[in-house]
């Protein structure tokens, strides 16, 4: 079967999922089947239509691109819209609008950066803008701390957005471009010590820089998760560029020390760590900014069990009130809602979908023929994986809870837009890599 036809068939699961999902939520809400048919089919059809538009666009512009990436994104986005619809109908309508905007931005990225390698020329502009974006949420008049973390930039009356979502792409782009030039230098003139190849001390410069960026994020944004996500992805790019495990070891140790020191000295970060270690302590549970959210994420997952309670069955607020049982169910805690309703199996299926998407990203990196493309695709895939790990790890208590989004599923405009740009770049790399080399 031709590549693009495979992609078209790949959209079928997404279409079925969104229709069945909406039907499920409707059945749970009311026994009105007449209303169910028209409304759920409308939603299903609109989403299927949007996915088809996206597919036709790829068919025209990127005929050789990976056929599984877009359907996997469609499955995640469709699943996300159903989950959000189930939590809040108004949020779902807005999310659908963001989805449309995201597709437009997706198309725009593909058209404008058809030859994405020209992005390299602007690498210092990109890194400056990315770093400025990171600082943005701390600027007076814009800052808007949520639970003590500075992740939102709030320009009053205009927009609330999460700059980190965009700067993650910018920073990976910059590092991929920078290391394409310097990787050879870093690898050469290395010594070996205890079986580990150690480059000269001066080449640890880039490690130091990305370490400083991560610490700055932790210090400025008060957010361990974002910091870990950035640092991990940049370290991954560095590792792929140099194939030197010593960078990773030194880098992780440095991060550990820095995170430990700042974690103990920034009150908000310290509180998050305490909540992570002792979520079921009654004092922490009842304390503002304590472990209420972590504990209730665990309770929600426990209620889900192996197979979940069923779509629309999770208890999100105390019945008859608006008092939330699970804070931020449509953003931070959406994974807990998924586990509550679909159980361990449903949650594992969602994680597997992400893993497949990330695998396709790494596949594009392997197939790519130039260093920049390889580093870019590997870095973007790694940061996508780390973002999922950071938020799901926070909800499942692998690491302290943090306020990043679950890509394509969580409610949030910035997240949808940025991640569509990320996938557009991956598809661009993939198309170039798989194009027959006659030209």
């Amino acid at each position: 079967m031709r590549v693009r036809n495979r992609e078209l068939f790949g959209l079928l699961p997404a279409a079925l999922l969104v229709t069945a999902g909406f039907a499920g939520v409707f059945i749970q809400r009311s026994d009105n089947f007449a209303k169910l048919q028209s409304a759920s089919l409308t939603y299903g059809l609109i989403f299927l239509g949007l996915c088809l538009v996206g597919h036709i666009f790829i068919r025209i512009t990127l005929p050789y691109a990976d056929p599984y990436m877009f359907p996997l994104v469609a499955v995640l986005a469709c699943f996300g819209i159903v989950m959000i619809y189930r939590i809040s109908t108004t949020d779902a309508r807005q999310q659908a609008q963001w989805f449309v905007l995201g597709l437009i931005l997706f198309a725009g990225t593909i058209v404008v950066f058809r030859d994405y390698r020209k992005l390299e020329r602007y690498r210092y502009v990109i890194v400056t803008v990315s770093l400025l974006l990171l600082v943005l949420p701390r600027l007076p008049g814009i800052q808007d701390p949520v639970n003590g973390a500075y992740l939102d930039a709030h320009i009053p009356g205009v927009i609330v957005f999460q700059p980190t979502e965009f700067s993650k792409i910018g920073l990976v782009l910059f590092l991929a471009s920078y290391l394409r030039d310097t990787r050879q230098v870093m690898v050469m003139s290395a010594r070996r010590f205890l079986g580990v190849t150690i480059p000269p001390l001066k080449h640890f410069g880039p490690v130091l820089v990305i370490w400083a960026i991560a610490m700055a994020i932790l210090f400025l944004l008060h957010d361990i998760g974002s910091s870990l996500m950035f640092y991990g992805a940049l370290l991954a790019v560095l590792y792929v560029a140099t194939n030197r495990i010593s960078f990773v070891i030194v880098g992780l140790v440095a991060f550990g020390i820095g995170a430990w020191y700042l974690g103990a000295h920034i009150p908000h970060v310290h509180a998050r760590v305490e909540a992570w270690l002792h979520p079921l302590s009654p004092t922490l549970y009842n304390q503002p900014g304590g472990s209420f959210q972590v504990a209730n994420s665990m309770f929600a997952q426990a209620a889900g069990g192996m197979f979940g309670q069923g779509f629309g069955e999770a208890t999100l607020v105390v019945p008859g009130t608006h008092y939330p049982l699970l804070p931020a169910p449509d953003t931070d805690s959406i994974y807990a809602v998924i586990t509550d309703e679909l159980g361990l199996f449903g949650a594992a299926a969602v994680l597997l979908t992400y893993l497949l998407l990330i695998a396709r990203g790494f596949k594009a990196a392997i197939l790519a023929r130039d260093s920049f493309s390889k580093l870019l695709a590997a870095g973007l895939s790694a940061i996508l994986g780390l973002q999922v790990f950071v938020i799901v790890g926070g909800v499942t208590r692998v690491i302290p809870l943090t306020g990043v989004t679950l890509p394509f599923i969580s409610y949030g405009g910035s997240s949808i837009l940025a991640n569509f740009v990320l996938v557009a770049l991956l598809l661009l790399v993939s198309d170039r890599a798989r194009r027959p080399s006659s030209s």
Partner: protein, 476 residues
């Protein structure tokens, strides 16, 4: 650069494996503990969404049912109110509080979820409907017991000695289980079920236990002659018969008929501490009753120190002679004394008492049947028959004549335990018995607390007779 990319993907796979492992920790391995955590409000909320099954009486009348509210949650109503409050208990799901059968049969009332039905039940996501719990409780006899106790503090327990099925379990004070919050504020501990938790000195009703030990151990026969003079010295203090009456040498049968204290004190001492202890244990003393009722709402009968610690007859602190006539520091629940009567009635075989007879799901299928089972072999069939005859004499010509019924042979034993400060002359009035003697269908224990001059034969025996009469009347 491809090798590090592959390794990098390997790291991502490992990280995702961590996520799945941690998710399964909360969803599977720690799920039960998390759901039971007191901080977890959703357990209570989910409980409110369950359409709990009904609790029904023997005649099919409803003792407890769920009512659906406007917000889709369920609350409990108890149509019979205070009549069955202690046996049925209450369930306030919003507070996570329950008592009585509502607690002990909680998992059935919520609906037993097993195997495939639990998986499909979860997938369906529909309202969880509980199973109906059928009891052997008899509303008419329960009403008779309530009328008999009247305003006194006391309790009546009646059971089928052949099966162990509880027919009557009433105690006063009672409470309206539609409003247990109000009952919790009541000054005389209304929420306490005196039938299973109330400790009363059993007085002469305990002579039934002493007699069983005496006969079954082979040391005595119903015709053994013992001197019934009064007073005698027991443990260094004089022990008198009622009204100081001094009897000469009498048979054991005569001693039981007239409830001669001095005889039974000697019998108990002759039988000895280890034998008395072993027979008491066979009757169920020193253990919680094996009843399908919350353990926290039951008390073990036996000798107790002033601090409430159980004291075994083999201990030097027990005055064996006085214990053998139900005095000393001996305390028993009405439930325990009904089991004593039941064991004699059923040919020496004590059946496990139970309130529940069967559990039916919403489709009317029986999901659980409680079959009669033997708790212990207390005494031989022959000894039981001999003792039944002795107890029949008590009712026909002794202290228990008020329990006589027309056309039915009743066996029994009275008890009058003097309580309160000396000189006030307050008694706990007891009667335990069973009928019909030839093939007993009912065993009963009645106690009324703090009655002035409260002879068991005067106060308790007529109530027992009425309850027996009602239960036997329905059986025909």
């Amino acid at each position: 650069m491809n090798a590090p990319i592959m390794r990098l993907f390997g790291v991502v796979v490992l990280l995702f494996a961590l996520l799945v492992i941690w998710t399964s920790r909360w969803t599977v391995f720690d799920s039960k503990a998390l759901q039971a955590n007191p901080l977890n409000a959703r357990t209570v909320i989910d409980e409110e969404k369950i359409d709990r099954g009904r609790i029904l009486a023997d005649d099919g009348s409803v003792l407890a049912r769920s009512v659906r509210g406007a917000d889709g949650t369920y609350t409990r109503t108890y149509p019979t109110g205070s009549l069955f409050a202690q046996a049925v208990g209450y369930s306030i799901t919003s507070e996570g509080e329950s008592a009585g059968l509502e607690l002990s049969r909680g998992s059935e009332l919520r609906g037993l979820q097993t195997g495939l039905s639990s998986i499909f039940g979860q997938l369906g996501g529909s309202t969880q409907v509980g199973d109906d719990v059928y009891t052997s409780l008899d509303p008419k006899a329960q009403e008779v017991a309530r009328a008999g106790i009247g305003t006194h503090v006391g309790s009546v327990v009646a059971l089928d000695p052949q099966t162990g099925a509880i027919k009557v379990m009433y105690s006063n004070p009672s409470y309206d289980d539609n409003d247990p919050k109000a009952a919790a504020r009541c000054t005389n501990s209304c929420l306490v079920n005196l039938a299973t938790e109330g400790l009363f000195p059993p007085g002469s009703t305990f002579k039934v236990v002493t007699t069983a030990a005496a006969l079954d151990s082979g040391k005595f026969t119903p015709n053994s002659i013992i001197n019934g003079k009064s007073p005698i010295t027991v443990s260094g203090f004089p022990l008198e018969n009622d009204a100081g009456t001094s009897y000469g040498p009498v048979t054991l049968t005569k001693a039981l008929t007239d409830s001669i204290n001095t005889v039974f004190a000697q019998v108990g001492q002759d039988v000895g501490r280890p034998t008395m202890e072993s027979y008491m244990k066979r009757f169920g003393f020193y253990s919680l009753p094996p009843l399908d009722y919350p353990p926290d709402e039951m008390t073990a009968s036996g000798e107790r120190t002033l601090r409430g610690k159980l004291l075994y007859p083999t201990s030097d602190q027990v005055d064996l002679g006085r214990m053998s006539i139900g005095q000393d520091k001996l305390l028993a629940t009405p439930m325990q004394m009904a089991m004593v009567a039941g064991a004699v009635a059923n040919g020496g075989k004590l059946m496990v008492p139970h309130l529940t007879t069967r559990v039916l799901n919403q489709d009317g299928q029986t999901v659980e049947t409680i079959n009669p089972s033997v708790y212990s072999h207390v005494m031989s069939l022959q000894v039981a028959a001999e003792e039944a005859q002795m107890m029949t004499d008590v009712v026909e010509e002794g202290t228990g004549q008020a329990a006589n019924l027309e056309g039915v042979k009743v066996a029994g034993k009275t008890g009058t335990a003097s309580v309160g400060p000396t000189g006030e002359d307050l008694d706990d009035a007891w009667f335990i018995g069973f009928a019909p003697v030839a093939q007993p269908k009912v065993a009963v224990a009645v106690v009324l607390q703090n009655i002035p001059q409260g002879y068991g034969g005067t106060y308790a025996a007529p109530i027992a007779a009425q309850v027996i009469k009602t239960l036997l009347g329905e059986g025909q």
